[in-house]
Symmetry: C2
Subunit: 210 residues, 2 copies
DNA sequence: AGCAGAGTGTAACCTTTGTTACTGAACGAA
DNA sequence: TTCGTTCAGTAACAAAGGTTACACTCTGCT
């Protein structure tokens, strides 16, 4: 495990901190499509992403969903993080976009390392800052873009985190993530295809204009 | 100044930390309608709100704006905060909603106190968490509410931070904050008035259904 | 009083997005 | 192969929100 840690967090953390994480952190593998949030909620620990990609969704009371952003290797989930700190129930949902490996850090180590390691302190603050920036970008997207632009951005983002210009997804799934209806997505996708930006197939879409 | 500090942050900070803030922090007064962000950007310091209220807006490249949330006494601006940390240019605009008093903390003290005072560490993390929660609420509002609901929420929020059920505002100003057009706001306001929820006057609106 | 400018009310119309309904194609299981 | 289910395409219509245009009313200034 220490090797995977070094590879992903070596440039961020001191060696002694890496050793500590290695000794207390537990390793989890999450298959694609599974939720991570229960883990973070239940066993009160903080996840560090080692490989894979995770999509973060906002959920309201009535079960409406909205994609906020994707997270990749080297990141942590600042939400889960702040949930742990505040002992509050999470307000978001995290779903593995690709098969994902995590290291779970017990929260009691959070505060301890905060005083002990300057690099940990920076990492936590930087993570908060990054997540904040991503939330702001999500707001821009919802507030300032029209649905067709949001859709195309979504497709490109999804292709990016999957490292593949062909994405496996149904129109219904996209509709959930963008909080709209399947018919609207089908309509706009067809337009994008006519404009030569994508190629539609059953259960998959190829992005041409990356 | 130490008295105002005690009043607003006493329950958060140790006495020794309050003394330090008192000795290094400089006191600023911002009249209603003025921007705070230049201050935070230029002299690289972090503002603590002592009195008044501030509205935080997102701005895109084309000058489009959108209200994110209001901040009140006892808060800090986590954006400015993270801007200071990251030495990056701010992506938001902060405007004094009411006359506002701030204490500006030099950023070099940020990291120093982070290791030195547990209460400061908690305060910074809690601030990040609070601002994150508020961003999420802003996303809910934009994504899940319709314009008439957003408008009524806006009016109530504004009445709240002004401690007054009569708010001084023009339809055009509301339109800017909600990123829509004046005509739409006038239309919806008239509907709200007919429903008995508000009373319209020139340059002001009385909120009846708090 | 007369005037200019800011603020508001309202109609008519357009665009975008959401909804309902129905179609057929693709796929997997029996 | 047949049948049921999921997925996608499309039309017709409804609703929300954005745009343009114009009228009228305050308010402050000269």
């Amino acid at each position: 495990m220490i090797n995977e840690l070094k590879e992903n967090y070596g440039y961020l953390f001191e060696d002694s901190l890496l050793m500590e994480i290695n000794s207390v952190g537990t390793f989890k593998e999450i298959p694609e499509g599974f939720q991570l949030i229960d883990i973070g909620n239940y066993i009160k620990s903080m996840p560090l992403l080692v490989s894979g990609a995770v999509k973060i969704l906002r959920e309201d009371d009535k079960g409406d969903e909205l994609l906020l952003y994707f997270i990749e290797r080297g990141d942590t989930c600042a939400m889960t993080l702040s949930c742990c700190m505040g002992q509050k129930k999470s307000e978001i949902r995290a779903v593995a976009e690709t098969p994902t490996k995590l290291i779970m850090i017990p929260i009691e180590k959070m505060g301890e390392w905060m005083g002990k390691y300057k690099s940990w302190q920076n990492f936590i603050l930087q993570s908060y800052h990054d997540r904040m920036t991503e939330l702001l970008e999500a707001i821009d997207t919802i507030a300032f873009l029209k649905m067709d632009e949001r859709l195309f951005k979504y497709l490109k983002d999804k292709a990016m985190v999957n490292h593949n210009d062909v994405i496996q997804v149904t129109h219904q799934e996209i509709a959930f993530d963008l909080h709209t209806s399947r018919v609207v997505i089908s309509r706009l996708l067809k337009t994008l295809e006519n404009e030569g930006k994508i190629k539609l197939h059953r259960n998959s879409i190829k992005i041409l204009d990356i």
